[in-house]
Assembly symmetry: C2
Homo-oligomer: 412 residues x 2
């Protein structure tokens, strides 16, 4: 489609350069506030500066560059994504959006727009090192509390100490928050992390909403016993009860569009082949772009769990560990993005995001939009994560076109 | 029932003495060939000697005392059980049978019978340290092969090395085997490890058979994926497939008498709340006193697993990790034990053992019998394992009476 792929090639080269900053050989491991994260942030700050944006690292570890508009201090369009990764993940998840945003500013070559642009490389989108997530974007959105920094990682390192060692300052997290009046909106380019675009042969998709999500940690307690001596009729098997819930979550979510449910963890406490499970622990994750659909499903599953518990004489303890409402993308942004996509001869494809993103957090501060890039096999969070230089080039051009249209429309 | 509980009291005191030899504070942890096992073996050898039996530790770590009959070298009635325990288990499982046997010889006070008695404290009945089980009794039954000693524990210690350090000799394991002609039979006293006797208010039960058991390690491989982005209809969820098997094992075994089935372990590889399980591992344990019933159930479950695999597009890999046929107790021993039980005014209660025991291994060498002792709540393999001094006293008297009756009947 585009014979000249320079935009895409530069972004892909830089993705590879950043992928060297990894704690693992196979796959990318760049955890929040790790030395690898710091190295990535520093290199990204250099690239921002080189693209014409004075850059700095803020109090919570985000790297941010600001490209002023036609006069200093104008409200800013925020662009970006995150620089941290899961353990043994892929190199495009997050990083792509930061580098596409820098490329977008770079190609302006000093041309000033009727608004400023701020490019963010957020920290802690993934939430794998500490028992929290989305720290960087939440600080910008102004939704953090001081206690957020009191949690510890698996080695007992407290988030606030790790942040100080990184060069941040937990006491100044409030200074990171933006005022609504200073912000025009937020646009994020991200890999799809799902199979839809690939299945339909479309390079990019325009996100209409980000699913709301609820996550639960469930423990079920029955009675342990000898696998050979307790008759089937006298058992209170915790794993069998948990298995019923796994299938109930699946059945309930299969039965409805725009709803997914997953039991991703399952563990029998002191499990042994010859012992009837006395206690089992598992997770439940429920998502939908429609909060009502999600809540109704959770209520239904809760009632099923209650019925399973009383029928099987086991006790369920359910703790909510994560809750984020769905986020609707700005209708205006969707329209502009679709126009930009169509401009390159691509049929606009609206898509709902089942994964969470920094954009949903920024949605509490300002209007947001997202552009998804097709990825191979729908795979993410794995070393096999893969995208094509052509698709990246297309995404960069769409983003540029979107920014230009916004400037022309005089949206300030 | 018995005002004089001296027999039971001495056995209970000695159980407590041996319980000091534990690697854990809570519960008893006396693993095969551990220092705690060695200390227990040495003290038991002292008690054997004191009861009139020259005692020694054999090449595989069994402690054995021999009480000669009316002339040296007569065939022996074997008595005993095991001295090793599970991790954090109870103090009566195994130990009770060894100490009841010593008490039985002790009260003969030198009186000679028309047969010898050999008392065994077997090692490695439980099979928790090394990936093998019933080592001690298998050596006596003559069913071991040299390769048995090549396995390693979780720390990488090879069984044969551990045995040498313990004071045994893996190269001499064949010397431990008994000739059929030298053995009259084997009798084992053991806690029930189930709730039947307690439910019916009966102190001891006469075992008619020991269930055969098959154990499997199952892996199921589907496709991992993002919990938010892969539609329900496109999933190949390994845990959901495993959950179906858990419920199928339960359903199949519930539907038939004299059959139990258990999934005791379940683990999602790299499980995370927001990741669709790609691989899950679990165990299946199937037992029945009737080998045909067990085999038919295994065939049925295998067919179900095949159907689940093809319907869900996941692959099951099934590995058999344990297989022991059922063991019928000697009709003559059952009759003698029932008479002994009735002699003390207790209604004889026949009971089938769902748990495996050294007796089933000895069953390959000679006729066997077992006497079960009621235990609290049916609990075993846990610190809460508990039996009463009255019941132990009764069990000792029944054993004595059985041995006397055997002597009177002139069974040699």
């Amino acid at each position: 489609m585009n014979a000249d792929l320079r935009l895409g090639e530069e972004v892909m080269d830089r993705v590879d350069e950043l992928a060297r900053f990894s704690a693992s050989f196979e796959g990318l491991t760049r955890l929040y506030l790790s030395p690898q994260h710091r190295a990535a942030v520093d290199l990204v700050a250099e690239w921002m500066t080189e693209a014409g944006m004075p850059a700095s690292v803020d109090a919570v570890g985000n790297v941010v560059g600001r490209y002023e508009g036609q006069e200093p201090g104008l409200p800013a369009l925020l662009l970006g994504s995150h620089l941290d990764s899961v353990r043994n993940g892929g190199k495009y998840d997050g990083t792509l959006g930061v580098l596409a945003a820098i490329a977008c500013v770079k190609r302006l070559e000093g041309r000033r727009l009727p608004f400023a642009i701020e490019v963010f490389g957020f920290g802690d989108e993934e939430g794998v090192r500490f028992p929290c997530a989305l720290t960087g974007s939440s600080a910008v959105a102004g939704t953090l509390e001081r206690s957020h920094f009191d949690v510890s990682d698996a080695d007992g390192v407290v988030l606030s100490d790790a942040l100080i060692e990184f060069g941040g300052d937990p006491d100044k997290f409030e200074s990171v928050a933006r005022n609504r009046a200073d912000v025009l909106g937020y646009i994020e380019v991200h890999i799809e992390q799902g199979p839809v675009l690939e299945n339909e042969g479309i390079p990019v998709g325009v996100v209409t909403s980000i699913a709301g999500a609820s996550r639960f940690a469930v423990s079920v307690t029955g009675s342990s016993g000898h696998a050979g001596t307790v008759p089937m009729s006298m058992r209170e098997d915790a794993l069998a009860a948990a298995a019923e819930v796994v299938l109930d979550v699946e059945r309930r979510c299969r039965g409805q569009d725009h709803l997914v449910g997953t039991v991703g963890q399952m563990n029998v406490e002191k499990g042994a082949p010859n012992v009837i499970p006395g206690t089992a622990h598992f997770s439940i994750d429920i998502r939908s772009p429609d909060d009502e659909v999600r809540k109704t499903a959770i209520d239904d599953i809760g009632r099923s769990i209650e019925a399973i518990g009383s029928r099987r004489r086991v006790r369920f303890d359910i703790r909510r560990t994560y809750e984020y409402p769905s986020c609707l993308c700005s209708a205006g942004f969707i329209e502009h993005l679709e126009a930009a996509v169509a401009h390159f001869g691509i049929k606009p494809r609206q898509i709902s995001s089942g994964a969470g993103h920094d954009a949903m957090v920024l949605g509490e501060l300002t209007r947001v939009g997202m552009l998804f890039v097709r990825c191979k096999g729908g795979i993410s969070h794995a070393p096999e994560e893969s995208i094509s230089v052509q698709d990246v080039d297309t995404a960069c051009r769409v983003l540029n076109s979107f920014v230009d249209a916004l400037a022309t429309a005089g949206e300030t």
